[in-house]
């Protein structure tokens, strides 16, 4: 088995998520059914998207393992590979290598309350997690989702957000930094502020999954501390520059841990033990 060999997949659908056209969601289907069987992921894992001639990029898996027959990735147009991916069309062939890394600790989270705190385009593995929990709704107690973007046009998965809000199985707290839309019916304010107002009280059975840009994480942390969340109950997903994705090429370490293989999911208690890089 060569861990660098991607599975060939076909782009089945491309959805432009945001008004600035920087974020697109790609629905991918495996060319071979045995590859589809081999690719068994859990919400929170990532994969390397592979484009011959351009390279590879590590991207969180946006679809839930309960969604069968395809996998989804939401990709921000940033560099060489992502720009090329954004120019591709339905029917084109790319490669997928994975699933890679660890996942949100579902064994621990089951039976507890979960509050998801997300910002910007880091929401993709959080979408996977929300869909996964909704498909296993009886295994979780209260589920809160606090999700913010700079403006309404930059929110991902808008139709699903509205559907989750309407269904009421989870408590949605959508927010934007600012909007001029007079009909905006959700929150206005930064994620840390909304977290302080809406997050459930701390409890040994209540876990916060925090995933977003560094500035959001930096200012949400004191809020969770103030609310009394212990660092074992705060779960982060990290990013680093990666190449191999399997803990071998050496570039994504924090101390003796590789973010690609030992992470990307760490509790804050675990991160506190590692050098702050």
């Amino acid at each position: 088995m060569n861990p660098y060999q991607p599975y060939p997949v076909r782009i089945e659908e491309i959805v432009t998520e945001t008004a600035d056209r920087m974020l697109k969601t790609f629905r991918l289907v495996f060319l071979k059914s045995e590859d589809s069987d081999s690719f068994q992921h859990k919400a929170g894992q990532f994969a390397e998207l592979s484009i011959p001639g351009k390279g590879e990029i590590p991207i969180g898996i946006a679809s839930s393992p309960t969604e069968k027959g395809f996998i989804k990735f939401t990709v921000n147009k940033t560099g060489l590979v992502t720009s090329h991916l954004h120019s591709m069309k339905v029917g084109d062939i790319i490669g997928v290598r994975g699933p890679l890394g660890n996942w949100y600790p579902w064994d621990t989270l089951e039976g507890g309350n979960v509050v998801i705190i997300g910002g910007g385009f880091a929401f993709s593995t959080l979408r996977a997690s929300i869909v996964y929990m909704l498909d296993n709704r009886d295994r979780f107690k209260d589920i809160h989702v606090i999700y913010g973007a700079r403006s309404p046009e930059l929110l991902l998965y808008k139709a699903e957000l509205a559907a989750w809000e309407a269904a009421g199985d989870i408590k949605m707290h959508i927010t934007v930094d600012a909007t001029s839309d007079p009909n905006w019916k959700y929150n206005v304010g930064f994620v840390p502020t909304i977290t302080e107002e809406k997050a459930p009280p701390a409890d040994p059975d209540t876990y916060a999954i925090v995933c977003g840009p560094p500035v959001m994480i930096r200012f949400t942390q004191p809020v969770l501390d103030k609310l009394g969340y212990t660092h074992q109950n705060i779960i982060n997903s990290l990013e680093k520059r990666m190449k191999c994705g399997v803990g071998i090429c050496g570039r994504c370490n924090i101390g003796d841990k590789f973010v690609c293989k030992d992470g990307p999911v760490f509790t804050l208690a675990q991160l506190n033990q590692l050098p702050s890089e």
Binding site: P52, G53, I94, R251, P275
Partner: protein, 347 residues
């Protein structure tokens, strides 16, 4: 001790026989130094040479290695699919590597062959190797193998150990792979050798350089990471990367695609934690923009993270290459001393 005696003539004949069964790698002269490379038919191993300038890691982990090929021609049936390029895993032998270099493969293997993933390129290449070491009777002033579990007569990682004598070599058989090789070479003359310990002791006494590593594991990782030693250690560093390229235990690599016309290759190349691009993210964020951070990463990885992760000593064989080749005289022995001696304020 039973050893096999190889006369000068038997040596040449044996090498000739080995060429039929193995691809031969050995030290040869290059410029003012030497290198370990695949021998051309007219080249012979030169075991009188001092430690090669670059380590033999390239035998298993080439500086550039093709992993896949691909076609971007839409008319091609394999259009856009990556095709694996297998390494040539026909038997190879490295003749005359120093014991320090031989022990490096075991250190690196923990990275390439872990319980979750096996790097097939490295593993296939490594498994094809037979390693014939040559005991090191003239260690250099920068050698400190004895401090890191090695030694000039150490057998770790070797299949055969050669000892130079006046009229040829004595060879100590260590593994079945080694036994097989002496059979192929036709080296069969067994003899008793009672001077092994004396020779070993004499060589070990020539090693004057040492490091202490006893406290590295017990020290808190964050105490060392935040210790006020790194500015001084990193001050003169040019981030040239020579230390990482010459090091037998530095294993980091980059993966790049190169296209020419409508076909191309996905390859891996040696990379170095000394370079800012190593960790530069797509967003522009870089966790290691400062050279202090990069120098700290190199030494923390070798002396602390590796020791913590595998509980099998540090990621260094004491060959001294990084000390000899550093253009600004940064010395891993000094860094190790600073780390090992570090006292936190409340101690």
């Amino acid at each position: 001790m039973k050893v096999i005696k190889i006369s000068t003539q038997n040596w040449s004949e044996g090498i000739a026989k080995l060429r039929n069964e193995y691809r031969l790698y050995a030290p040869v002269k290059k410029g003012t130094g030497s290198q370990i490379k695949e021998l051309k038919p007219e080249e012979n191993p030169d075991l009188s040479l001092k430690l090669s300038r670059f380590s033999p890691k390239s035998v298993v982990f080439p500086q550039s290695q093709i992993m896949f090929t691909y076609s971007l021609d839409e008319n091609d049936k394999d259009y856009n699919l990556l095709k694996e390029v297998k390494v040539d895993s026909t038997p190879r032998v490295v003749i005359g590597l120093k014991p320090c270099d031989a022990s490096s493969f075991g250190i690196v293997k923990r990275n390439y062959d872990n319980p979750d993933y096996q790097d097939s390129y490295w593993m296939d290449s490594y498994n094809s190797l037979t390693l014939v070491g040559c005991a090191c009777d003239e260690p250099a002033a920068t050698c400190f193998c004895l401090s890191v579990g090695g030694g000039p007569y150490n057998e770790t990682g070797l299949d055969l150990l050669l000892i130079t004598v006046e009229d040829g070599y004595l060879v100590k058989v260590i593994t079945d792979k080694g036994k097989n090789l002496v059979k192929i070479a036709g080296w069969t003359e067994e003899t008793d050798f009672d001077q092994f310990e004396n020779r070993q002791k004499a060589a070990e006494e020539k090693i004057t350089s040492e490091i202490q590593t006893d406290r590295l594991k017990e020290l808190e990782v964050n105490d060392l990471f935040n210790a006020p030693i790194w500015e001084e250690m990193a001050f003169s560093c040019l981030n040239c990367g020579t230390c990482t390229y010459s090091c037998p235990t530095c294993w980091c690599f980059d993966i790049q695609d190169e296209t020419r016309g409508k076909s191309g290759i996905r390859m891996r190349n040696w990379d170095s934690c000394m370079y800012p691009l190593f960790t530069l993210e797509g967003s522009g964020h870089n966790p290691r923009t400062e050279k202090l951070q990069r120098v700290r990463q190199r030494f923390m990885h070798k002396l602390k993270y590796y020791a913590d992760k595998y509980d099998s000593g540090i990621q260094c064989v004491g060959c001294g290459r990084c000390i000899n080749l550093c253009p600004v005289n940064i010395d891993i022995r000094v860094v190790c001393e600073k780390m090992n001696d570090y006292q936190t304020v409340n101690q």
